[in-house]
Symmetry: C2
Subunit: 170 residues, 2 copies
DNA sequence: CTGTCATGTCAACAACACTGACGTATTTCC
DNA sequence: GGAAATACGTCAGTGTTGTTGACATGACAG
């Protein structure tokens, strides 16, 4: 809207121009490219993709998680996840063990080798995040997280919160 | 923040725990899903994908841009872009005209129909961004943008800046 | 025992990315 | 004027990641 340039100054708390919003949209686009760039490079060497990274990340985060659980976090079909999981198990990065209480469930864990890959992936990603956080400062970081959380769907935010509340345990 | 409690208080400007960084990483993952959810729904109805959205967005942003220009912004191969561009031109959403100064170049514009789709896509995405911005407040928004910009590669940040500095002109 | 659940798998398909190679038109440079 | 570089388009092949639909097995629950 061209008429946004005439926006009253006193309403800045609530009045958001299309231009402001567009800049946020474009920032998300380019930032996400940077966000995935480093892991992508590492994964390409081992002929894995982002799907493998996501599976590894969330298995690391919730050791012993079930397939169904992972399915709902990743938001993909079981066929799609299974293809990835199958290669990870075949390659010895992930172990799948029958459940004790419910023997239908399979509990997923990273093997030593899987944990090593997870470490190298998250090291790379954390380094970039650390650099960005340092450059922007603590106040900016708080705002960054607030906006991201507000951008999620309600259901995703629920999953995010329950994940984030438990420490990494590394 | 569980392990954050062990962080030395006086170094908070520079000391970033793995836990803090991991939360940022997971926030990016879930937020980006929300970020693309609304346009994805609209595009699915018309059997277009994210690649079409990106092309339409940047053609709208830089009317008359050349194919090479778009290529470097999107960071894909020309074969990949061409597949998308071909369908958009065939469907009458994008026009391609021979350059005046350099007749090898093709200048890309949105047709009326293309502009209408762009509008409906960006309306949806802007609505989500607006809601997130409102929920988080102006200080958070500034921090959000700062961190995102710091997360980009130098080359991407250059492209982002030159784009963002020109208004939408809507 | 029957119904439901968790999981795994097969097949087919589509979107979107890639590499490599080739062709055409045009511009630039020597 | 002719060679080289540039801009674009296209063909063919491949790989990852997602989808639907169907089916099988084993395990739990009423």
């Amino acid at each position: 809207m061209a008429s946004d340039s005439t926006a009253p100054a006193g309403r800045s708390l609530l009045f958001l121009t299309d231009d402001q919003l567009r800049k946020g949209i474009e920032a998300m686009f380019f930032a996400y490219r940077g966000f995935t760039a480093d892991p992508d490079r590492i994964l390409a060497e081992k002929s894995y993709g982002r799907a493998h990274h996501r599976a590894i990340h969330f298995i690391h985060r919730s050791p012993g998680t079930t397939v169904n659980n992972l399915l709902s976090i990743l938001g993909v079909t079981k066929q799609s996840l299974n293809r990835v999981l199958r290669t990870l198990i075949a390659d010895g990065l992930v172990s799948s063990t029958v459940g004790d209480r419910d023997r239908r469930e399979r509990h997923l864990h990273l093997t030593a080798e899987g944990a090593a890959l997870e470490r190298s992936l998250s090291d790379a990603q954390r380094e970039r995040m650390r650099a960005a956080y340092r450059a922007a400062g603590p106040a900016a970081v708080a705002g960054f997280r607030e906006v991201l959380e507000a951008m999620m769907d309600a259901e995703m935010r629920r999953q995010y919160q329950s994940l984030v509340d438990q420490p990494d345990g590394r």
